[in-house]
Amino acid sequence: MEALQKGGLNDLVIKLATVNGTGSASANSLLMRAIFRMGIPVMGRNYFPSNIQGLPTWFEIRVNHQGHLARSGRVDLMVAMNAETYRQDLAELSPGGTLLYDSTWPRGTSLVRDDVEILGVPLAQMCNDAFTGVRPRILMKNIAYVGVLAALLDIDMSVLRSLLEETFSNKPKLVDGNLQAIDLGFQYAAEHFACPLNIRLEKLDKNDQHILIDGNTAAALGCVYAGASFAAWYPITPSTSLMDGFRGFCEYFRKEPDSGKNRFCILQAEDELGAIGMTIGAGWSGARAFTATSGPGISLMSEFLGFAYFAEVPLVLFDVQRAGPSTGMPTRTQQSDLLSCAFASHGDTRHVLLFPSDPAECFSLAVKAFDLAERLQTPVIVMSDLEIGMNDWMCPKLEWEDSYRPDRGKVFDAEALEQTPEFLRYHDPDGDGICYRTYPGVHPNGAYFTRGSGHNEAARYTERSDDYQQCMDRLTRKFQTAATLVPEPVLIGTGQATTWGVISIGSCDGAVREAVELLSDKGLYVDYLRIRAFPFGERVQAFLDDHEHIFVVEQNRDAQLKSLLSLEMNVVKDDLVSILHYDGTPLDCPTVYTAIYDQVKKSAAA
């Protein structure tokens, strides 16, 4: 793993250990955006507690000129601002790395390491001298370390200045204060240390066509562009910012010009049962409607998901996954809702799932989710996670085709209903399992009384075995149709003949792509298939058929993706080798690389 073991020019990991509620998020964001503006690929990850103030929090920035932005498993520069976690932070620093700490207070004598460089800056002392008031002193201490890093890493000061001017365009005094704090840190470092360090930054031009955006914001924007007019939700980390984003964009884009009234309705429900019930009501009535939640919400929504499956009501549900089971770790990431979402609810039930791998795909798959939900008249669950949803990713600018028109699926309008005196809601004239639906209020001929109980083609209550089974078989047919409509997997082939393959989903992508590239450099060729939807479809089967040994990389303990593949596809279970990561942190490249490397080598030796 030597390729990932050492930082260098435009290739480094900075980790900032702070206390939550002290304003460090602004300082960290400033730092990351400055690097982004310098044209160097960058991503920041926030490891935060489920808490308002006073607990440890970390921000990890990976900079990589090649664009590999998954966790590298390395820390080149640790900014240790939290005495409580100092010992842990020092231990985590990679050999040869640098630790920066606030030397206002003496460092414990036991906290030493010979193989790293330790730099002390009296940040609190400097800020106490320069600023007045408790709050400004705390906030400026964080901004001051950005100044130190600017000197150590060669960050362009003019970029920092313009970022601050943009951020505080209405409060010029704050620009001055922040610049003063940055200068304090910068000057101290320049005078006391050999600047810049070996790991440093140099301007590139790789980011002109990119943005920094988190997945929840991008998904919210996708909902706006898809034409969703209704959303209901119940607050839950890490999905809350998706609905905040949707509201913000709606307030911006969706005000009726003359009246100022809303061309949208967002309701905060009393719980997740209410949220999905409302979404079903709106979807049944003909609106594009969605809700967003996380694992515990999925559990609560399951009964209604079964209802929507059986009554065939379209809706979109975003599951921004977090570490389970139960309350689990609300602010840590995982992909552990795969099985519970695929089969949510009792009885023979199955749901269409989409797996975005980054915020750009949260945007595009959000739009796709509405098209699929209405085409298939069923819930579509977008399986995001905290890593994608709440971190700022560097993504290509989002694209939109103005020629796009929503696929509203099979709907009879008033004109069609005028010609249809005997409308049958659950009749399948086309043989694809999908029936025609009608919206309430359009035409008396379109009326039907739907239900979660057994129903015949006319939507009427039935306990007849043949009616019931016909309906269940048609739903199976519909799911088969779904497999032909969902987004195809992304294949990254090595271009070499190989019997080795790796399958993964969602936020594993960055780590897997990097690992596969590094393995390729070593002459170990592994084809990579990133699945983007469930049901899986023919191309997934073809990949399984084409490779003898397949690694399945996922972020849960129980190998849920592997289980789903074994259940649904024609594959020998033993041919699938799990690589599992489930400690709540985002997947890192070395975990994938090492597991594949060892297995392939072992196999070659045998």
Binding site: A282, S285, E399
Partner: protein
Amino acid sequence: MTFIAKPKINYAGQVKNKLGLTVHDYEGTISTLCAGCGHDSISAALIQAIFELEIPPHKISKFSGIGCSSKTPAYFLSAAHGINTVHGRMPAVATGSNAVSKSLYCIGVSGDGDSLSIGLGQFAHALRRNLNMLYIIENNGVYGLTKGQFSASADIGSKAKKGETNEQQPIDPVKTALGLGGTFIARSFSGDKEQLVPLIKAGLNHDGFAMLDVLSPCVTFNDHEDSTKSYAHTRQNFHRAIRMDFIPPAAPISTDYGEGKTRTVELHDGSHVLLRKADQDYDPTDRSGAFTYVTEHQKRGEVVTGLLYINAERRDMHGIAGTIDEDLINLSFEDLCPGADALAELQNRFR
């Protein structure tokens, strides 16, 4: 059990409303409830009221949860869309539907189990958000489909058919609604169609959550002696505190009922409810007074009926949410999607 279509019988001289529809055009399939079930009388009252209001049947959406009561939307308005949801969760589905198609009249039918046990939370929150719907609780104090367990509205001392006596405090939907800020709170009796029909009309035209608790005896499991929800007990003890007439927009209001005993409240569509009070001191716009009145009569074993509280001023869910006047489902895609140029411009924020 399966459904039985109701044959349409047409004969000369049938009364038609201004839409040219007869009362049969407002019917549903044949009820499969027990003969004599109070719920069927309520369905009949709904049919009568909506026929007389001359609402096109397909401009109504029907909602229900689970239970005997929740089957009934099949038994009225075949030409209206309906959705029989999951147990206790009908208010959420009605909320979402009304949010996007506000021009439709929204009728929810629930029961005491569906609204006061499993669905108490949803019932309370639909009330709080003042969802514009007529919400009928067909209240019989018992679980019918599972054969006779007490529901949360069973009175203390009421005996189940198998002999068990209820000792738990009942949840009274009227007092619950008063406490939760309900804006239209009424109680009636399935056997009192004269009272029920105008209440339904007023409830449908009230811009907000119209809660109508209808005592509706269960002939199979809760109509015996020692039941406080039987036909006999209800007939003996129900007390019309207020008679109510519904007066459509522009119709004349007659006031010859005697000084101090009548009061009119104007609804948003210009219709009126005319309240004729049995008790001169009763004020149906006084929330705490209504609570006390209902409670005092309960102590005497009396069930007070009528439109017990009304507030036509408070904004409904749409007023609070600030939505446009037209139905959200009628917005064009152009109105909803900001387009490529706006996206390009917006993304300057993300750099």
